[in-house]
């Protein structure tokens, strides 16, 4: 098939065309619309107190959820690959739940659990506010971004096998030393990729966080909620500006990983 130039060009055209139409053009449109009236309107919207607060809150979500899900994800991957038990298929299926369940359903379930009359409503009644506050939003963020590190780490763990770990143990390394010196360095790119996807997911999360946060401006609004509010209030420039910030954050994460990887390969 590759010998036929017509079909080769056809495939390229199809692939690139698909990507352009579905991914590139919408993103370029955001870019274009943001700066249609110059740089100051979007800048004003993003640097308004509510906008800055939303940015800070989004970064806070990342700062809490990503490390937790990374530690859990690596641990869980080790359990799934290195310690075969009868429960593993069940654990494996549960980890995939956040992929399968719509974020808004996740938000609602948290609302039911922690809201008035829910099983865990006593926590809020004790004075530790979960719903319409940061803790609830963190719970939602962790839920929706939970599978990424596990899913990216499991195949890498399977691929590296156990030879290196066993060699380390015959050389006198205990389990902890083997993990830090052998296992973790061997799976670091899988974990890093999982971290990037987790970060992107947490930054972009909308549905689940909307329900549990109540989207109160300047209080429980992350960047995506801020974008939605601006848009609903007919401030489309502000919405585009904040969207652009979101996109740039995601790009920065990807870029950081690429730089690290390049440094490693050199």
């Amino acid at each position: 098939m590759s010998a036929n130039p017509a079909s080769r060009w056809g495939l390229r055209f199809l692939g690139l065309g698909y990507l352009t139409l579905l991914l590139l053009i919408p993103l370029v449109m955001i870019f274009y619309k943001t700066f249609e009236d110059g740089i100051s309107p979007p800048l004003d919207a993003v640097t308004s107190p509510d906008g800055l607060h939303a940015l800070k809150l989004s970064l806070l979500m990342v700062a809490i959820s990503v490390p937790l899900n990374t530690i859990f994800g690596v641990g869980c991957a080790l359990l799934l690959v290195r310690h075969k038990t009868k429960l593993n298929p069940v654990i494996d299926a549960i980890i995939n739940l956040p992929f399968a369940v719509s974020p808004i359903v996740i938000g609602l379930s948290l609302y039911l659990l922690y809201g008035v009359g829910g099983w865990f409503s006593f926590i809020g009644e004790e004075g530790f506010k979960i719903l319409f506050a940061v803790p609830g939003m963190v719970l939602a963020s962790i839920f929706v971004s939970l599978p990424f590190v596990v899913r990216e780490t499991v195949p890498v763990l399977q691929e590296i096998g156990t030879d290196q770990e066993q060699a380390a143990s015959t050389l006198g390394a205990n389990g902890w030393q083997t993990f830090w010196k052998i296992t973790l360095p061997s799976i670091r790119w899988g974990v890093a990729y999982g971290v990037v996807l987790t970060t992107a997911r947490v930054l972009g999360e909308f549905g689940a966080v909307t329900i549990v946060s109540g989207s109160i401006s300047g209080q429980t609004q992350t960047l995506p909620l801020f974008v939605e509010k601006q848009y609903a209030n007919f401030n489309s420039t502000g919405a585009y500006g904040a969207s652009l910030v979101l996109a740039l954050l995601a790009l920065a994460t990807l870029f950081a990983m690429n730089m690290l990887k390049r440094k490693e390969d050199a």
């Binding site: 030879d163 290196q164 066993q166 060699a167 380390a168 143990s169 015959t170 050389l171 006198g172 390394a173 205990n174 030393q177 010196k181 052998i182 360095p185 061997s186």
Partner: protein, 345 residues
Amino acid sequence: MGISVEGANKRFGDFQALDDVSIEVPDGSLTALLGPSGSGKSTLLRAIAGLEDLDSGLVTINGENATGKPAQKRGVGFVFQHYAAFKHMTVYDNVAFGLKIRKWDKAKTSARVHELLELVQLDGLAGRFPSQLSGGQRQRMALARALAVEPKVLLLDEPFGALDAKVRKDLRTWLRNLHEEMHVTTIFVTHDQEEAMDVAGQLVVMNEGRVEQSGTADELYEQPANEFVMSFVGEVNRLGDHFVRPHDMEVVLDADERTQEGLVQRIVTLGFEVRVELVLSDGTEVWAQLTRAELQRLELREGQIAYLRPIQAKSFNGSSPSIPDGASTPLGSRDGGDAGLPAAV
């Protein structure tokens, strides 16, 4: 002293990997565990290293009960078939790994690593990564890494299995010489009988999770305990209940009461030796190993009739060796005569 395993059993599901295995490995010896794949030889080696838990049985290393001890506390050096190189570390860091775990200071570590790299002839490559080494170099690095921590015993699991024939032969000689210098008790696993006989002083032949026989190469070749050992340590022809080595088959042109008739099917010249393949009247296919001179003297051609006279044969039904059906005269002493001939390979 040395290594001893008593009554080792190990099951993997329905598969009995080790079935009441006991071996004794003398201190300072170089012993080969020889057997086909699935014979349990690797499982036994891994059980000695602590990489596999036994269902039952005792492992003793240098007089100390090691059963149930984790691998990291057994003081064994282990070399894996696929090198198990730490891919993210340089050659230097690979070899230094065990020393760093033992918190050696930098100067001492560096001296020891360079000493070992010199021993395995990799001294110029300390800064390379394993991916930049050839297979043979990687395995030598793995050996240096295992030896760095001065293990009480050295265990090698098919160490040359992934290498090509030429490198294999070189490393074999090299391992034998190394062992002569270091005298560390060494066990190595292989499925290649030539390799085992070439390298090891003592051999343990395993099959289906059991030890079939142990002894020196000569003992196994000359006095195999059973059919399996006889056919595993060398080439063999089967004549009824009897087993004959191809070099113990005499080919003659005249029949007598001790010969069997055969049709010469194929004559293959392999340098000095010649392989004559015959089919007997009952359909049995056998082959005889002749020298070129013998072949020329007999003027054998493919398609002609010749007569086979086994010089010595073994039967494992009774205890004493005898000759195939129809024979009336007993053979000469089975241990004398042509004893010590190398295996045909």
